[in-house]
Symmetry: C2
Subunit: 620 residues, 2 copies
């Protein structure tokens, strides 16, 4: 389990409890395991990230880390190794792989050797900063790195019962606790939140209250100006307002979302409803006013920040892959804490669009930035701005994708003795304490989901809960051959004594939806987008006939888009034909599939050719 | 003269040849002289910029310079002193001021003391980098600083015949020439173009061909990857494509425009029509596809860059004050080289909107960034993002405004023995070789311009040329009491023997114009803006009744805006009442006057309430 709250509304299942067998996610997960993760290891070796840790262990080499403008060396690259290790832990927990295991053993050995006798481990500080720890909490990312080390350790502990990393991580945390804990007399927080959620999870593993106390302390210390203004103001590092009183998300999107993950974790462990409510308030406001249609977050490049409300430019969207991933981590925690289906809807939107767009179909190239529009004619662009890259100088996104995809089966369902809740749909087996089921579906391309009970743990009744997505206006449910009956968005709860072989059939209507932006989103005024099920579509210049310019297209206001099979983009993929004004159609493809056929133009939001300002107002 | 080409279509006049007596520019120039420039000196002392140079001269102090993210110290602050000195030079040339003169003497003394015996002077390198010059041409700005030193020196030479700075600057240039000139064997260019135009002007002053040769060499060395990729790619420092072949502006806006200023200067001196044509091609494309309505340039915050064509977000406009200033410098060079009136139109647009917005009405606060929209509700903003500031950590804009305003009278007219060309209108005296005139006008608030001949140098005919702005659809001209006759946009040329007391009356119709954006500007689709004469208007929340939300306003498509006197914003200022849908009006004020009444919301582009997609398509 990526998280395992001591008490929550919903109870996570483990990595071995959900197995995805077929469909979009099976393909993406197989690619992650077979191509992306091995590619990641090759890159960590190639660019020097592993060697940096070897230097900390005393090896002679040249510290290799990309330089920022002004020549500052990026200090957080150790975390790439930890995120990669986390992914490998989840993978090895589901099935062995000798090559991956050998690579991980090597990496764990390097980290173990780099750790000092006092427990501290950070290659940047040990090699380039004379080993003086916690001197630059604002920019240094030392605790951020410890947080990722802890999360890798927990994956290996939970998935494999292998505690080599847990011993290293615990000693690193002890070092930080001695320097910055309550008894230290020093109030210190990291410029990049991350350790908070890691500490809570460590407390859940170790049962040690001091880990939870350190997390809570680091939460409470925020918002009091400890880190100063820096270049981008205190919101950049989440030090502009206390976690309990800030009403809006602000500053660097990933940092805000990681911080709020930690806040939910602390709130759940301590039964701190006020803290939970503060996070939910921010989250709700974010979804309403600052989220892209793709689930992407963060509209400003300069400081990787959320913009102001409704500041959602499609072309200059920053929309960092890591921010979409962070929103999944946060929505998952809120789903577990509350059981509210909207959080599962949000996970679905982010995963199928703004997260998945970060990865090439090949699995070995990555977007850092995920805009909703790219112009066909662009001026000189540096490498990495017009296509996915095999790696980035700041390589946070690639291994973040790896660990999320490796743990993705854990997000599909929850369960305990009283029931099983299915949140995301894929052809899969799901085993919970109450019982086990198989799911068969062509989702997200087809709307039929068949759940068959394989086993009940007792003869008594238990509840099978199936999510009806919020976007679905026409769902029916048939239980054990009964006549299909309409079900509303939310969870359909079916409580009965379940016999093996009994089936539930959920049919989700998947009409193409024409989505108008919230009228307060200035940047896409006069445009519409097309969605079908959880998939957001885009028009890409690779699909345009010669001589047709993407920017000149206008969408017809009065004709409907129709579906078109697109096997060229993957098995089962459904594309659209979108009506144009004054006549004709243009192909649209799933947004996540863009930029796999060259570096052309792309638009999610299409200008309308007529008067088309009506419609429901989700944020653009 | 800010520039004095050896040969050009139009011939600049000197700072003493044009005196502005009344109106908007008289007020702004008086404020610059009496408040802004003294404030600038106080800031240079306060923030340590002067002391940095004192340290280079051996004084004991702490080097004070703002730190970039990652802690890198800004290396170019000496240039603030030079730009301030340039402004003072122009001011003292028009009228004495003992206090300003004393302050300038102090600053010149500091610079003289800082200069090493070998001619090199750069406080950052001398104090913080062991005095090793030209080691970091990409980021170091050493030649950029020399360029500004040269321009200050030329102002003092031309305005005052005072060559103290010229001696310093020439030695600094000689040092650079020895290290990087043809004979040095080292191909080096500065990450920030600026020295190129300064070197050409120095050649015009000294008559030394080697200064021109060095400028030409540094132009030709660009575009071959000498500076590497850096964080933002080679376009950031104008090293992505050769100056002669690049077809579009790209990268950092100020750097591109400064570079093209140098390119025009070299082209004019060498009669290099191909090089001039290359600049004009880029300039024309820029005006058509990448310029804001306010004349502002640069739509990206992250790397201070031009965006792609039609990427012109009003809210996230970077629109650096320095970029608008740089566009004036470039348009002026192109006007002199070609005599084409469009360049004067462009100067007018930039000066009255995107330049002037950089300065508070008080004259002591500055915007670095000049967006065309600010939302009423904003999230946490660091200082300087929501209001003008007395100074900036990177203080390039304030002294750039000072030197431009101090030299602004020189941009009003050109002339030689054959005639006098008036490009910009203000109540002023203009003296040229052919003759002298007075101009009386309420421009830009009123459209009548009366030019009276004061003196003719000979009894023979000479040509008085008056610019009819490109935006003006209804202009009439009356010569010496003749019936007013329509004149088209461009220059009205009047050739005759002029007698003292003869008058020409130009009447420019000033209806309110409703401007629709180019349909390719995605970010303002469905909006209109209002202009009158050279003034772009905006709606500011300071003018809204309580309870009215700026973002909810919709402009009526079918009613006209009307003018309203706004003496509260300055003598003679004309505001508008803009029609709203479904009913009512809202006040609009000149864009340059915004943010003088608190930090509220503002919009130049207003969404329309009805079907309003027609109209002419200037870039948004």
């Amino acid at each position: 389990m990526t998280v395992l709250p001591t008490a929550s509304r919903l109870r996570p299942l483990g990595g071995v409890d959900v197995t995805i067998h077929d469909g979009l996610w099976a393909e993406r997960l197989r690619t992650n395991r077979e191509r992306t993760i091995p590619h990641g290891y090759a890159q960590l070796r190639k660019v020097g990230t592993l060697d940096n840790l070897r230097m900390a262990a005393g090896a002679a080499a040249e510290y290799r880390a990309s330089a920022d403008s002004g020549g500052a060396v990026l200090p957080f690259l150790d975390s790439d190794v930890y995120k990669w290790l986390e992914a490998v832990g989840w993978e090895l927990g589901t099935a062995p792989d000798p090559e991956l295991a050998a690579a991980a053993d090597e990496a764990i050995g390097v980290v173990a050797a780099a750790q000092r006798p006092d427990g501290y481990v950070n290659s940047f500080v040990q090699v380039l900063r004379d080993g003086q720890p916690y001197r630059d909490l604002a920019w240094g990312h030392e605790l951020y790195c410890v947080g990722h080390l802890v999360q890798a350790a927990i994956a290996w502990h939970r998935a494999l019962g292998d505690d080599r990393l847990l011993r290293i991580a615990t000693r690193a945390v002890d070092h930080a606790d001695a320097a910055l804990g309550e008894q230290s007399g020093r109030d210190g927080i990291d410029g990049h939140p991350e350790i908070e959620m890691a500490l809570v999870e460590l407390a859940r593993v170790t049962g040690e209250g001091r880990h939870l106390a350190l997390a809570a302390r680091m939460l409470d210390l925020r918002g009091h100006g400890l880190l100063g203004d820096g270049r981008f103001g205190p919101a950049y590092w989440q030090d502009h307002a206390p976690v309990r009183t800030a009403t809006e998300v602000a500053g660097h999107a990933v940092r805000q979302l990681y911080l709020d993950c930690g806040a939910v974790d602390v709130a759940v462990e301590r039964g701190d409803d006020a803290l939970l409510a503060a996070v939910r308030r921010r989250y709700d406001d974010m979804v309403r006013t600052r989220r892209y249609l793709t689930g992407a977050l963060g509209s400003r490049h300069r400081d990787e920040a959320f913009g102001d409300p409704y500041e959602l430019p499609p072309d200059r969207a920053y929309a960092e892959t890591c921010a979409a991933i962070a929103s999944v981590l946060l929505a998952w925690r809120l789903l577990l804490a509350t059981g509210e289906p909207g959080y599962a809807d949000d996970i679905e939107r982010a995963m199928h669009n703004g997260v998945l767009s970060g990865l090439s179909r090949s699995g070995t190239e990555f977007f850092y930035v995920n805009p909703l529009q790219r112009r066909t004619h662009r001026t000189f662009e540096p490498a990495g701005h017009n296509q996915r890259m095999p790696w980035q100088a700041c390589a946070c996104c690639p291994p973040n994708l790896m660990r999320l995809l490796s743990s993705w089966p854990q997000y599909l369902a929850t369960g305990d003795d009283s029931g099983l809740q299915i949140h995301q749909y894929a052809t899969a087996e799901v085993r919970s304490p109450a019982g086990a089921v198989t799911v068969h579906t062509g989702y997200p391309w087809e709307g039929r989901v068949v759940v068959e009970v394989v086993r009940s743990s007792s003869a008594g009744p238990w509840t099978l809960s199936l999510r009806v997505p919020g976007w679905c206006a026409g769902a029916t449910l048939s239980v054990a051959g009964s006549e299909p009956a309409p079900v509303a968005a939310g969870y359909a709860h079916l409580t009965r004594g379940w016999q093996p072989g009994e089936r539930v059939t959920l049919d989700l209507a998947l009409p193409v939806r024409r989505t108008a932006p919230d009228p307060r989103v200035d940047a896409v005024r006069g445009c519409v987008a097309f969605e079908r099920g959880p998939i957001v579509y885009c028009v890409e210049s690779a699909d345009l006939p010669a001589g047709v310019v993407l920017e000149d297209l206008r969408c017809a206001p009065d004709r409907e888009a129709v579906t078109v099979p697109r096997p060229d983009l993957g098995a089962g993929v459904v594309g659209l034909d979108v009506p144009l004004a004054p006549t004709g159609t243009v192909p649209a493809i799933p947004y996540f599939a863009w930029a796999n056929r060259g570096a052309g133009g792309m638009r999610v939001w299409l200008p309308t050719g007529g008067d088309d300002t009506g419609g429901p107002p989700p944020a653009g």
